[in-house]
């Protein structure tokens, strides 16, 4: 019976393990006392008047979902500001990455740039369940929202961290609305296939375990915009060699690599030093 069950099922996939989402009924943001991705002191505080919880609709081939996000900045100035579109990693929801968003909101000075962070469907208050196609649809929807609020592509900087590098790279390679001016990837994985190969040791095809098609190493080939890559050389989750594959495949007009000694997967900004991190991003954005 077990044999027949296994044969009939043959449906085990690891796809859902890409998403470690936690749903919420409300965002805590600054009131969040749980551990976050990074810890910031009070100098990074953002005025609550500049923290806007946003709802938008996302359509993944007919699968509609209401997506939540937070825009940090003066919404009336989106038409003139440069905005960093931040795609977060796999864990929990945007409350976990809230300090990362605030850190970006302090690049170049407090609120120098607008910052928009969303929760993919299934994360936080966003409806639905996370999927690869849904993540891309949600990324499109977020940037479409920015466009509808007056942003132009030459003032859009797309930033992806970890899982979010898939959304960031894919959108930049295949822009649906605004064409980003620049791409920043922090700790990108090369592809689902490379993740399988690296973790499996032996050259098993990714299809033995997953149907995921995420492939930064290929998508980056379609990116011509200036590209900044940062990665910890002690990253024990997504090895720096994966990020190097992505960087090596970039053939655009300007590439900048920052390999941070001693940094692991989640503490690149901290290990690098927040000031160094912010300075590097500011220099990349303005030049």
């Amino acid at each position: 019976m077990i044999f027949v069950s296994c044969s009939v099922c043959s449906c085990l996939r690891l796809d859902n393990n890409l998403f470690n989402n936690t749903k919420l009924t409300a965002y805590l943001l600054d009131a969040n006392t749980a551990p976050q991705e990074i810890a910031l002191d009070s100098s990074y505080t953002i005025s609550p008047a500049l923290e806007h919880i946003i709802q938008l609709k996302s359509n993944d081939n007919g699968n509609m979902a209401t997506i939540y996000g937070v825009y940090i900045g003066d919404m009336a100035l989106i038409a003139t500001d440069t905005v960093i579109m931040y795609f977060h990693g796999t864990k929990d929801n945007l409350d976990y990455y809230w300090n990362r968003a605030k850190l970006l909101a302090n690049v170049g000075g407090k609120n120098r740039y607008g910052v928009f962070i969303i929760d993919y469907r299934g994360y936080g208050m966003s409806q639905g369940n996370p999927t690869e196609s849904g993540m891309h649809a949600d990324a499109n929807a977020a940037i479409a929202w920015l466009q509808n609020n007056g942003l132009a592509g030459n003032r859009l900087v797309v930033y992806g961290f970890s899982l979010g590098t898939a959304a960031a790279t894919y959108y930049t390679a295949h822009p649906q609305t605004l064409i980003p001016s620049k791409l920043i990837l922090e700790a990108p994985f090369a592809s689902a296939a490379e993740m399988v190969n690296e973790a499996a040791v032996l050259a098993f095809p990714a299809s033995y375990f997953t149907n995921l098609k995420v492939d930064n190493s290929q998508q980056i080939k379609s990116v011509q915009q200036p590209f900044l890559w940062m990665h910890g050389d002690a990253d024990d989750f997504i090895s720096i060699s994966q990020g190097q594959i992505v960087y090596n495949n970039y053939k655009g007009i300007y590439g900048e690599a920052h390999k941070i000694p001693g940094a692991t997967h989640t503490n690149v900004p901290y290990t690098w030093g927040f000031d160094n991190y912010k300075t590097a991003l500011e220099h990349f954005i303005v030049n």
């Binding site: 099922c9 470690n20 592809s191 296939a193 499996a200 040791v201 989750f237």
Partner: protein
Amino acid sequence: MKQEKTIQYCILFSVFVLGSCAPARYVRPLGKGKTEVTATFGGPLINYSGNTIPVPLLGFAAGHGFTDDLTGFAGLHATSLAFGVLQVDAGVVKRLRKPDKWIPGVSISPVVNMMLDKWEGKFSLFPQADANAYWNYGKKKHFCYLGLSNWFDLHKTGADDEPQRTHWLPVLQAGNTLVGKKWEYTLEVKYIAANYSNQSIVVSYVSPGSNGALGLYIGVTRKF
């Protein structure tokens, strides 16, 4: 952080599914004309909810003695089917010397592991070479054994056309088989991938050190 590691170590866990599904197929030849069918169960030991349990992997195999010293066999990994992967293995076990009291018998076993998935039709082949020493005991010739199983990866490149870094995956194995008239019962312990670190893994593998994982397997054999 633990949650973020889930994808990576689920994959590593799955490697054990595909790569360490079963105990050694046949350590000593069956004898000319003899046929046996075996069901195996077990896998790498993990700490789960406060208990140490083997990963529940299921497999089947059949063997036939061509000569007194040479047995052919084939196996099917039922758990791999759950992943949509048809995984079979086929090989022979050749006795090089018979056991003599405390001097063990020695056998070698070349095997081919083949996999084909239903999702993209990708085929993989991994050669395997085992060597075992075994000792008979008792009137019924129960036997215990100690050996080394080796998986080989002959791919020059892996994902993204990057050079394939690992070409050898060793597994130490030790076991005991109780022999009856119609049935045999095997208990085997493996030390899987002893040359790879198991540190910072969200799945808590049991191992004697900071590398690899111990595995526990049972086999039930019907003789015909």
